[in-house]
């Protein structure tokens, strides 16, 4: 839709096309993207203090311990904050899209995007579940859909 036409709230939120720029992992984040390619959502848990850590860290951001172990998330969470973007970051993105911060049930937050609902359905506190959609170079990107 044209960015000039006024939003109605009825617009349906869908995953981005696989042509958006793929992520560029580091040595520390590679396990996350490898799991995502298997459609598994993972995070790190601190062996010392139990703090759930995301995005991938070298030391626990709560206690400083280096003992971080990858764990699998059930992929269920709650929308903590959201926006709807009508002016795309780059032309490869299709608007509207809805970046959101999700509170995962395991006790950490991550940035992703909400799909599978109308713009007008977005609200803080919305219960969502993860699902994966392909992007270039064999990567899969987590999105969240209302449950």
């Amino acid at each position: 839709m044209s960015p000039e036409s006024a939003p109605t709230g009825e617009e349906h939120l869908v995953p981005q096309p696989a042509t958006i720029p793929p992520p560029t992992p580091s040595a520390h984040s590679a396990p996350y993207w490898e799991a995502a390619a298997r459609h598994e959502l993972v995070y790190q848990r601190c062996d010392a203090c139990g703090h759930a850590e995301f995005d991938p860290a070298v030391v626990c951001r709560r206690c400083g311990a280096r003992a971080l172990t990858w764990a699998r998330s059930a992929g269920l969470g709650t929308v903590y904050s959201w926006t709807v973007v009508w002016r795309p970051q780059q032309p490869s993105f299709v608007v509207p899209y809805a970046p959101a911060i999700v509170d995962l049930d395991e006790g950490y937050q991550m940035l992703a995007a909400v799909i599978g609902c109308r713009v007008a359905d977005l609200t803080v506190g919305l219960r969502v579940a993860v699902e994966f959609h392909p992007v270039a170079d064999g990567f899969a990107l987590p999105y969240f859909r209302p449950v």
Partner: protein
């Protein structure tokens, strides 16, 4: 004795700002800014023995300043603080803080390059500055019921300050009502286009000097009463959660980044919010003004929305904001110059030389830079009276 008793703001300058400065480069803009600020201080390039800012190395070379103390502190208030400390500790006498940017934002189908670092956990979700700050604003709306009208009131106020300012890029574009703001197209909900900073080209410079080096300043001296900088991490690489904290679970959250800096600044000055006459607040997005009033202690948590209503922040109000039109209407010349321009406007207010929106008899100005969407916020207190 106040640590900055002997540090005077001697010169300031904004060269021409524009959406696009044809024929200019970042360096040519920074050179114009530097020479203009030195002229404003009645100084010559031969007087300079320190320079900072993103282009400081080029400026040292092209203006022939060397050998000279040089650093690359770039983000506005931190650069001013570093320059002031350099002089206060006796390591330099005349320090220039300069910024300039032109010819960097050319691929206009995308948002400006400095708004969207290619980081793996935000870039694939189409994030850029407006969306980052929208996630902060939305959380505040959820927690406290902050309204679109309150945010639009901020935008209309700032844009109307720019409307009447002949040097603003968007001079004459208004005046704007709250309804005009809310009728502009949505960029990143809840932010309409007119609630967002513009992108432009431009630059500016400030000259700080040891007071006894400049006994006969052409302009009234302005003094640094206090300041500090708050940082929680790199901008636009991690989710900008309101509740993001460091290790201390009871620490100040990202939503109130700038609070620690403001407390330190007020403590150094021996002042409080009620002593401030003009608030030259950083205005990347409408909501950030509301958030900063809460973070800096001008009102209670959650009270920022009502606080900006009823004329408090407008002409003749108790706390006039961003009187040159700010990032929304004056200029947003890239990565750094707009951060320094809030300080320049504060200096002009205290000199009493603003041709528009002059706050009569202003004695204390609070200047700020950054915002919670970017995980940083800095505060500088300027005064007309030597500390």
């Amino acid at each position: 004795m106040h640590p900055f008793r002997d540090v005077v703001v001697a010169g300031v300058h904004n060269p021409r700002q524009a959406r696009v400065l044809e024929g200019e480069t970042s360096l040519s803009v920074a050179i114009d800014a530097t020479l203009g600020a030195l002229a404003d201080a009645g100084l010559d390039v031969r007087d300079v023995d320190g320079i900072t800012g993103a282009l400081s190395s080029d400026l040292a070379y092209d203006l022939g300043l060397g050998p000279v103390w040089q650093s690359a502190s770039a983000l506005g208030i931190p650069a001013v603080m570093e320059a002031a400390a350099q002089i206060a500790t006796g390591l330099s006498d005349v320090v220039v803080v300069a910024a300039g940017q032109a010819g960097v934002y050319t691929e206009r189908a995308s948002t400006a390059p400095w708004t969207r670092p290619n980081h793996e956990f935000v870039a694939p979700y189409g994030m850029f500055t407006a969306a980052e700050f929208a996630l902060i604003a939305r959380r505040h709306m959820h927690l406290y019921g902050t309204t679109a009208e309150q945010m639009a009131t901020v935008a209309a106020t700032v844009r109307n300050n720019g409307h009447v300012h002949p040097e603003a890029i968007y001079a004459g574009r208004g005046p704007f009502t709250v309804d005009d703001i809310l009728a502009s197209r949505m960029v990143a909900d809840p932010f309409h286009l007119l609630e967002c900073a513009m992108t432009s080209e431009g630059g500016c410079a400030i000259v700080l000097a040891r007071a006894d080096r400049v006994p006969d300043l052409p302009q009234p001296p302005v003094w640094i009463l206090g300041g500090s900088t708050d940082r929680l991490g790199p901008s636009y690489r991690h989710a900008p959660a309101w509740d993001l904290r460091g290790r201390d679970p009871d620490g100040i959250p990202n939503g109130y980044v700038g609070r620690r800096a403001a407390r330190r600044a007020f403590a150094a000055a021996g002042l409080g919010p009620d002593d401030v006459d003009v608030c030259e607040l950083y205005d990347p997005f409408s909501f950030e003004i509301i958030r900063q009033f809460e973070a800096f202690g001008f009102c209670g948590e959650g009270e920022g929305g009502p606080f900006v209503m009823d004329g408090t922040i407008g002409p003749g109000g108790r706390f006039p904001i961003t009187t040159d039109g700010g990032l929304m209407a004056f200029s947003h010349g890239g990565q750094t110059s707009q951060l320094l321009q809030r300080v320049i406007r504060g200096v002009q207010q205290l000199r009493g030389t603003c041709t528009t929106m002059q706050v009569e008899g202003a004695e204390v100005a609070l200047c700020s830079g950054g915002g919670a969407g970017a995980l940083f916020n800095d505060v500088l207190l300027l005064g007309r009276e030597r500390p």
